[in-house]
Structure formats: C-alpha cells, structure tokens
Symmetry: C2
Subunit: 363 residues, 2 copies
Amino acid sequence: MTHEAGIPLGIRFKLLSDTPQDSAAQVVGDVVVGDYRDLDTLRAFARGCDVITFDHEHVPTEHLRALEADGIPVRPGPDALVHAQDKGVMRAKLDAIGVPCPRHRIVADPEDVAAFAAEGDGFPVVLKTVRGGYDGKGVWVVGSVEEAAEPFRAGVPVLAEEKVDFVRELAANVVRSPHGQAVAYPVVESRQVNGVCDTVVAPAPDLDETLALRAEEMALNIAKELGVVGHLAVELFQTRDGRVLVNELAMRPHNSGHWSQDGAITSQFANHVRAVLDLPLGDPRPRAKWTVMVNVLGGDYPDMYSAYLHCMARDPQLKIHMYGKDVKPGRKVGHVNTYGDDLDDVLERARHAAGYLRGTITE
Amino acid sequence: MTHEAGIPLGIRFKLLSDTPQDSAAQVVGDVVVGDYRDLDTLRAFARGCDVITFDHEHVPTEHLRALEADGIPVRPGPDALVHAQDKGVMRAKLDAIGVPCPRHRIVADPEDVAAFAAEGDGFPVVLKTVRGGYDGKGVWVVGSVEEAAEPFRAGVPVLAEEKVDFVRELAANVVRSPHGQAVAYPVVESRQVNGVCDTVVAPAPDLDETLALRAEEMALNIAKELGVVGHLAVELFQTRDGRVLVNELAMRPHNSGHWSQDGAITSQFANHVRAVLDLPLGDPRPRAKWTVMVNVLGGDYPDMYSAYLHCMARDPQLKIHMYGKDVKPGRKVGHVNTYGDDLDDVLERARHAAGYLRGTITE
C-alpha cells in the first residue's frame, strides 16, 4: 500500500522481502528475498538506496545503527524505532516525558506479578513480552499468580500493566518529517475483537473536542520527543473517568489509519512516503463526514475473489483493499472502507462487505 | 495508473512493454519487453493471461483477432477497438448508428480535398490519417489545395472533416462491462493548447443539463453499439448552435478522465479494470464540486523532483501524478489534480503547480 501511494510521485521502491509471496513482493518490481535479521543481507540490500523505511518494527535495532553508520538514512531511525520495538523502553520514555500510561513495571517472575497486582487493584493484570508481540500475540491477561507463569517461559523480559477499565480504544495518527513538520489525522475509534482490530471509525463518534485535541497533541508530542520520522500511530485507552492513556506505539502506516486511503485528503501511506523523503506533508483532514474501515479476516473459503461480485454489485461506493495473502482462518487478509454522511449506513455497508468476503455472511 | 488501481483488488498484471524504461514497466513487477506489432511476441506473452487489455490503441487489429482465436479474451475486443484505431471505420459506424459527427469523407488526393471543401463552407478543412495519430500528430488544418499535399505523403488513407466552429471541447467518459453494465462520468470540459490537452474541468462549467445528458447518453449508446468493454472516452465539440458532435474516440483510460483519480468515487482506472474483469462497476460520481486536471509537460529542467518541495508546501491538498518519463520539452510527463468548492481557486492551484513543475512559473 506504501508502494501504491508512491507510484503517483514516481518513487521507486526496492523491497527486502522474507519470501517472493509476501504482499508487497507481489506488486513491487524490484524485490530482494532475504532475512531482515541478517546484517550482511541488510547491508547488501541497502547499497544504492537513498533512504530505508519499514512496514514492520522487527528489524534489529543494532542492525539499523550499523546501516546508519554506513551512511544510509534510516527513517524512522533506530533511536526512535526502539520505542516501537521494546515496550519497556517505550514505557520508560513516555514516563520521562510525562505522557499518561497504564500503571506498569518490568516484572521478574510470577511472584513479582503478584506483588505488582497487590500494589494496585489486584488481578487481573496484563503481561506483555517487551519485544515481538502484535495483534494480541505476546500479550496475556492473567487472573492469578498461577496463570502468570506462561509469559516467562520464552525467557524474554516481561512488562506488567494494570488492566485499564476503558470505555473504548482510540488511536491518534500523526506523521512527522525530518525537518519537524507534522500533521495529525482526526482521532479514530478502534474496536477490537479477540485482541485484533476489527473496526475503525473516523473520526471517533461523540468524542469530546477537548479530549480529541489532547490526544492529537499527545501524539504530536510523542513524535517530536522520540524523534519519529514517518507515520506514528498512538493506540489509546479512553478511560471511564475521562482520561486517555497510551496503550501501544507503531512507527509505520497502521491499521488504525487505513481509513485514510479513501477517507482523508492525503492517506497515511502517502504522508509516510512524503515524510521519509522529507517532502512537505499533505493535508490529513477527512473528505467525508464518516469513514469506516473493517478488517477482512480469512474465513473458510480460500477464494475471496468470487465474493467481489456480490460486494461490488451491492455497494458501488465500497472500497476493497486486499493484500494478496493466502487465506487462513482469522488472518488479516484485507480491509474495506466505506464513507458517507450516515454513520449507521456506513458501518452496515463496511461490516456486510467484510463479513461477506470472510464468508460469515452468505445472504 | 491502471496497475495502481488494480493493487487494492489483488489484480496481478503482466506487462508487454516496448522498453524496460516505459512508465508502466517502472512499477509493474512482471514485465516482458517486446514489440506489440509482432504476433509471435504477443502470442508468447498472452499465454497464461486471463484477459488482455491495453493502454494504447496501436496493437494491430488482426493480431488481436488471432489472440481471440487462440482463446484469450481481449477487452476491448478487436471489433470494438478498430473504431478507435481507424478514423474511417469510426466515422462510418457513427454515421450508421445516427451519432452526430462533423461533415467528413475519405479523400483520395488534394483535388478531392478541394472538392470536399467546396461541398461545404470551403477551406480550412481538417485532414487526418485514418490510423496512428494522437495529440495533434497525424492531423492537419489546411487552408488551401496546396497545403493539402502533405497528409498524402505517408501513403495511408486520409479523412477530410469540416473545421467545426466550436465553443469548446467536451468529453463524455463511460465504462461498459462484458455483461452490459455501464456507468457514465460527468461530462467534462477539455481545454487544448497546440492540439494537446492542457486542462480538464469536471464537471464542465455552465453546461446545459439537457446537453450534458445528451452527451452522456450518446457515449453510452456508442459503447453499446460498438460493443466496447472497458473505458470509452468520447471527445466532443460543443458547437456555437448548441449541438455536440463527436470528434474522437479512445478505448482505454483517457487523459480527459484523469481527474477521476482524485475527484470521483471510483476512478476511470479502477472502473476499467473492473470492466475488463467483468466485475460490477463502481460509482462514477464526483466527490467534490469541482475537480481540475492540468497536464504537466516537460520543460527545460530535467529534474522535476525538486519542484515537489514548492508545490507540496504551497498546496497540501495538491495531487501530483508523475509518469516516470524522461523529461523532453512539450512531452506529457504527468498531471496534477486539485478539487474544491471554488472553481477559480481550484483552477489557479492546478495551473500553478503544473506550471511550476514544468518550469514556466518560478516564483
């Protein structure tokens, strides 16, 4: 999707891909298949690139530092990206710059988890491995000291967090360029199902203006303080007592910003490319009153293409974005966007299409 | 741009390109370099394709028939496409189905041109080679029998047409699918400079509703009668006495429809892909009150990239579409789209950006 956004600007991508079947490898012309964890591979790949960016956070921080030392601009740079790679580093930094977070602490073992729980309202407690988690992986909600054993088995540091009593989840998406220009997308509501983002509504319905502004300012401030270049998604909890707390950070175009492809004047992908190239940023404002994104998860039918017929005929305004992935049950294989003036209608259209593509609606 | 529109639907393109440097070859992954005039090349290329379409009209009609005979769906098919390839065939067909055209006749030599002129209002007369012309090439406006010699030198049939006293040029863009579904984009005004499209305004300002409807119906009717599959652009003259006459036909996404990338709910490229694949068509209606497209022509500066800084900073809503072509003076190398509620503002922004990218504005 970043390649797609780069085409109109004549931006040529070279892709380092795990396999020739990866989504991006299916559409980018210049593909190198290799392992991003191997420094020699990265160095060979980086030769001749003007700048390097990512569609995930998993490239080892020390490899990015090595590329920078070789003179290759890496955006976002390792000093920023580490905050999206390591939840321990992220929490420490957000504490230091005064950004409100759930109560948290690195914990050593199940007994330490029990102590952490006792310091607050007791169990349940959220445990996260500090590196490598996403979409609910690497995250446990534990109700007792016995249940707290599992996260420690991998032998990586574990972060304990209070289980926040939230009303809903929000996301504040911002983009920042190397010369410090920044833009903020409207704060969106993100609805999760089984720990995976299901629906995003832009802008977040019935969000108090002051709270929305505070969330945008918070995201812009985090981008500045962490030296982010490119897109930053700040996932937030809106608490019952009217605060916003930072849940997670992502430094790349993010699922909570996919609505912008069809709903904003400039999409998150276009602005990420512009930021990474230090070009002036585009207008992030919405083009419609409401835009809804619903993720398409893999279902029981491997062929989603035949579902296009129904979905496109039913809703000529529907925007389908499929990733070319093999369909596996529960895997994110695409998303749909709808927009319009009537939120109920926009939500219904997006949900119907995503459900039909998945195979859970067969009317 | 068609590839760009196919990405979200997971449509995989295989490209037959003249050179590895062609615009499309820079962004499509699967490229075969070869000559579209060579049937063996076409046949080898077509093997394994589900369907074939074009970004120009120059593939020989008989080769397309051969591919069809091989069982490869060609969309638009040769029986339709020939009307966009051969202006003589096109005029004969439009006459037969009762579509108003400028007065015209195939002419044999300069004396025949003089006779054609005398049958109407005399010189000037427009002469066109029946095949191979575009962007003013293959077209002559001749003021005398002496000037009429040139077009006959190539030894191809020549079509004579009255020089229409037009108020302005319009274009009616429609898309038709194999099962006969069709959509019509709003009729646009197309402003030419030196025979090359310069500016497109969507919808055409101050266009009488009845005339707009007549133009849309005419384009839909042509698409149906000619059996067009995919995008059809009907270039029109709006005459001083309130009629619309067909100037040219193009059967592919067309310059007069580029505004739709940022100005319509579904772009001409997305709808062309959907039609070619016999998928239901998307909504062609505009998303903004006014959308303006201005072509970017090559200027004296080979580096257009540095102009991005000024253009993007001046207008955060600007949409730049560059084709990755080598910059040659006067060559179409890209276009810009702007949209909004105030036509003067939208026009000024597009013209400024295109002029700055070309180098004719350096403020």
